[in-house]
């Protein structure tokens, strides 16, 4: 983003009160940009509350395709008197603030370096609409009309979007269009439209969708063939299951019997949710759960059980702001450590790190293959930003040739033939033993226990027997290193400086690299997609003199993990952190790197 707003390069922020039904108006606005072919991102900053608290929605149009949070506001729609003072402050110099002028505005709430536009939204809607709820709702559509006039949105696109939304409800279509027109005409008649920066049609969104990562994670699980879900509601993960359920009920219905090929069980807590997943996976179904930080804490005992007894499980952890209850509706990447080593004892877990909803789809699906191949829990770490915000992603494709990798499961025929089955014997020397499913064959029977067991599956307290099993688990971990997705690496031999990052930092890192490059600072880039770290991560660490580790938590958890799990000189790894609960912005990365470089020069 340039310093000044330009055509197709600006950010709109709408301040509202939650429970006033602004979501559909905001989506309408965001999609109008998208359908005009302009890269766009929508970010929702909402309270952990049902009604009456402040909420903001931010829309960034970016002709350069930067869809992370911009960190600035060019047009602010102030619909919440409570936050007016703060909102006013947030507008960048030269920007615009739109407020509801139905009521008089205190004189001191002004700024001379921005333009303030009053629109009597409440009065316009009260005159036009009769029902109380309608009056509240339609104010939102009316400000979309105002913005459409100011930013020169394509009216045919807006009309088509309204038609799509209200195809089944013609009266609603009519009232929404009327509300839109109220705002639109008022702005045209009273302000000089369009603003110096506006929307102009582009061709950059074809082959893309605007989707949230909870929806795509759900779809990943659905397409991977998950049949059992144990879950307990928690923000911001709940919509993973809601979406899974909605699609599964339709797409998994057997036309002959009317029954559904899926069991979605709302558990009494997260301990039970993961217990259900382990029970189902032990029994040969693809099973998963979705949760957030507090749920991971509760699941820890069972996660260690799954690791030690080698039962597949898939977890989607939509990270939120910790510690403790923290800020449930704000984002962070602060569960990296808790997930990597969840549970007591020498326990470690395979982690996958999608950067956006598109990757959340593919990596959630892949998590099932990995979990079954490696016979261990796999945690997909997304976050609230990925999970609940709308991201522009390439269309999702499902390989028609895909077949699940069920891993090493003894068939009835194989069991029939072998002399004796041993659950934890490393027959293939890759650290992964064979398993058998209950009910298949008497020869496959074994006893799954979280207590000490030997390579045959029998109880043991024998020092050597125990150690042989945990050492083999460590060999399996090395095998896992070869199976997990490799990092994304963008590098040129010219640069000695590198950036390592993870997950939803990706967009901001890309924008930061472009800005640094403009200033003559070149930095290579590696984004980890999985734990254990692949060989490429070590290579990247070896190849650079100084490496900035960019992540969204206070304690530099990814950096810590790199220090623990690779051979790297700690002096080389510089933490660049963002952890206030809002999605990371490029500026915080650029500033962090510049500061470090300045320090280096001063020394």
């Amino acid at each position: 983003m340039s310093k000044q707003p330009r055509d197709n390069d600006f950010t709109i922020k709408i301040a509202n009160v939650n429970g006033t039904g602004s979501a559909s108006a905001n989506t309408l606005l965001m999609k109008a940009f998208f359908r005009m072919g302009i890269p766009v991102a929508g970010k929702n900053y909402f309270p952990s509350n049902i009604q009456g608290l402040p909420t903001w929605y931010e829309i960034r149009a970016s002709r350069d395709g930067y869809i992370c949070r911009s960190g600035r506001v060019d047009v602010l729609v102030a619909m919440n008197a409570e936050t007016y003072r703060k909102d006013l402050h947030d507008v960048a110099p030269g920007g615009y603030l739109i407020y509801d002028s139905t009521w008089p505005r205190a004189k001191q709430l002004a700024r001379d370096d921005i333009t303030i536009l009053g629109v009597p939204l409440a009065r316009l809607c009260n005159e036009r609409f009769t029902r109380a709820r309608e009056r509240v709702l339609m104010k939102n559509i009316a400000y979309v009309g105002v913005l459409a006039a100011l930013l020169d949105l394509d009216l045919a696109v807006v009309r088509a979007l309204l038609q799509d939304s209200f195809a089944a409800k013609p009266q609603l279509l009519e009232s929404n269009q009327a509300a839109f027109d109220l705002g639109y005409h008022y702005a045209r008649e009273n302000f000089s439209c369009p603003l110096p920066f506006r929307a102009t049609a582009m061709n950059a969104t074809g082959g893309h969708i605007m989707i949230d990562g909870n929806s795509t994670a759900a779809l990943g699980a659905l397409f991977a063939g998950a049949t059992v879900v144990g879950w307990y509601p928690i923000t911001p993960s709940t919509s993973v299951i809601d979406t899974f359920k909605r699609h599964a009920e339709r797409l998994r219905k057997d036309p002959d019997t009317g029954r559904t090929n899926v069991a979605i069980i709302q558990a009494e807590d997260e301990l039970a949710a993961i217990g259900m997943v382990l029970g189902a996976s032990w029994n040969g179904a693809r099973a998963f759960t979705s949760t957030s930080g507090p749920g991971i804490s509760l699941m820890s005992e069972f996660l260690g059980y799954g690791y030690f007894t080698e039962i597949p499980a898939v977890l989607v952890n939509v990270q939120r702001c910790g510690p403790s209850t923290g800020m449930p509706t704000r984002t962070q990447q602060a569960d990296i450590m808790a997930c990597a080593y969840a549970s007591h004892g020498d326990t470690r877990h395979v982690l996958l790190f999608p950067a956006n909803p598109e990757e959340a789809f593919y990596l959630t699906a892949q998590a099932f293959d990995l979990a079954e191949r490696l016979q261990t829990p796999v945690i997909v770490l997304t976050d609230l930003d990925i999970g609940m915000n709308d991201w522009m992603c390439r269309d999702l494709q499902w390989d028609p040739a895909y077949q699940p990798d069920r891993g090493k499961v003894m068939s009835r025929e194989q069991l029939e033939k072998i002399e004796k089955f041993h659950r934890y014997l490393d027959v293939d020397q890759d650290g992964i033993p064979w398993r058998s499913l209950p009910g298949v064959h008497a020869k496959g029977a074994y006893f799954t226990r979280g207590s000490g067991h030997n390579m045959y599956g029998a109880y043991t307290e024998d020092a050597k027997e125990y150690q042989a099993v945990v050492d083999r688990l460590r060999r399996k971990w090395e095998t896992a290193r070869q199976y997990v997705p490799t990092p994304v690496v963008e590098q040129s031999d010219r640069h000695r400086v590198g950036i390592i990052s993870v997950g939803s930092c990706d967009g901001a890192v890309r924008e930061a690299r472009a800005r640094l490059a403009e200033a003559g600072v070149g930095a290579n880039y590696l984004r980890v997609k999985a734990f254990p770290f692949s060989r490429q991560v070590q290579d990247f660490l070896d190849a650079h003199d100084r490496i900035y580790v960019v992540e969204q938590n206070r304690d530099a958890q990814l950096r810590s993990l790199l220090l623990l799990e690779t051979r790297v000189d700690p002096e080389k790894l510089v933490a660049v952190l963002h952890y206030d609960g809002l999605p990371i912005v490029a500026a915080s990365i650029v500033d962090g790197i510049n500061q470090d470089m300045a320090r280096g020069q001063a020394a």
């Binding site: 969708i209 063939g225 019997t257 217990g275 259900m276 382990l278 499902w398 009910g439 029977a445």
Partner: protein
């Protein structure tokens, strides 16, 4: 030595069940519990029940939590898969396993600590789901494995081995289960195999959650004078309200069995439970009546045993969830994959 395999030599004269198996085919590893522990008698009763029901051993799945009682899945049916889970969380594992494949016979083993303290929540919710399983609570009033602390089933006034007297009111698993919709509630005593075996058979065949609370004395920590879970105390205070008799499907009922004090309940597979009633007015299909009877007699210091309540009509978890007949773990992927066309249709709404 870590693993004691019991030699499996079947005496040629041993009776065989419908599958041609002898009782030895239902045995497991050698027990490592204390000699005389009530839990071992329950294991023996389970072996007998599974044998008599002719369940193919590999079609049973044994699940448990943590405790001496939860170790018992290792001591029977070595041809069945077993899942010795974590403390108090067996019901969730059983729920997931059952959702994946409802065709297996699920046998859950737990203790009073495992069920009534750390696992109370999961126990209640499995009951509420009417999960189709036999849930055996091996109830000794103490935490055996951690050396004798009082459990939540210890009665007020019951004395610990070292002299402490329990002051907190007990949680009665049967009354609790009755109050939250359990569809099969029974109580028995590990020292009375003849009473226990038919209850286990009926519980296994019941469609839904079958709780069998078995007083199972801990000889090491809770079998002394002053304990209300000792062999002696239980023998003196147990009062059977019903004796169950399990009758397989298509078996004639003898006329002497059908006498006036007998209540017959038909299970969903056509088998029947005949309840020989001690009190002629006891109705094992009346939930509030059962609750009332048990609490009244309990107040008098009696331990009411027998099949206390049964409701065979209530839908189990599979029915409530409307799950397909084919177990979910064996539905072929082609049936699960919605395909690109469906994905395209979904994505059309995100443009």
């Amino acid at each position: 030595m870590s693993f004691l395999a019991k030699p499996k030599v079947a005496h040629p004269g041993l009776p065989r069940n419908e599958l041609g198996l002898t009782v030895r085919d239902y045995e497991g590893g050698m027990s490592t519990l204390c000699a005389g522990c009530g839990h071992d008698s329950i294991t023996a009763a389970l072996i007998q029940a599974a044998f008599e029901l002719s369940i193919p051993p590999h079609r049973m799945a044994k699940v448990s939590g943590i405790g001496c009682s939860s170790k018992t899945p290792a001591y029977f049916a070595s041809a069945s898969h077993g899942f010795n889970s974590v403390h108090g969380r067996m019901p969730s594992v059983a729920t997931g396993a059952n959702a994946a494949n409802g065709e297996l016979v699920y046998i859950g083993l737990s203790g009073d600590g495992d069920t009534l303290s750390i696992g109370l929540g999961q126990f209640c919710h499995a009951i509420r789901r009417n999960l189709n399983m036999l849930y055996l609570l091996e109830n000794n009033g103490v935490y055996g494995l951690t050396k004798g602390q009082f459990s939540a089933s210890a009665d007020i006034g019951s004395k610990a081995r070292k002299g402490d007297v329990n002051q907190q009111p007990p949680i009665d698993p049967c009354l609790l289960a009755l109050s939250i919709g359990c569809t099969f509630v029974a109580r028995s005593f590990s020292g009375d195999k003849a009473h226990l075996v038919p209850l286990l058979k009926a519980g296994i065949r019941h469609r839904g959650f079958a709780l069998v609370d078995v007083i199972s004395p801990c000889v090491t920590f809770n079998d002394h004078e002053g304990s209300t879970k000792s062999y002696q105390f239980t023998r003196q205070h147990a009062q059977a309200v019903t004796y169950a008799d399990y009758v397989p499907p298509a078996t004639e009922i003898r006329s002497d069995q059908a006498a006036g004090t007998v209540q017959a309940v038909t299970l969903h597979d056509g088998s029947r439970v005949l309840l020989h009633k001690v009190g002629a007015d006891y109705d094992a299909t009346d939930r509030t009546g059962a609750f009332d009877y048990v609490s009244r007699h309990q107040a008098r210091g009696e331990i009411v045993t027998g099949l206390l309540f049964i409701d065979e009509a209530k839908p189990d978890m599979h029915q409530v969830q409307s799950l397909p007949d084919q177990p979910l773990n064996s539905v072929p992927y082609d049936k699960l994959n919605p395909g690109q066309k469906a994905l395209d249709a979904i994505q059309a709404r995100f443009r």
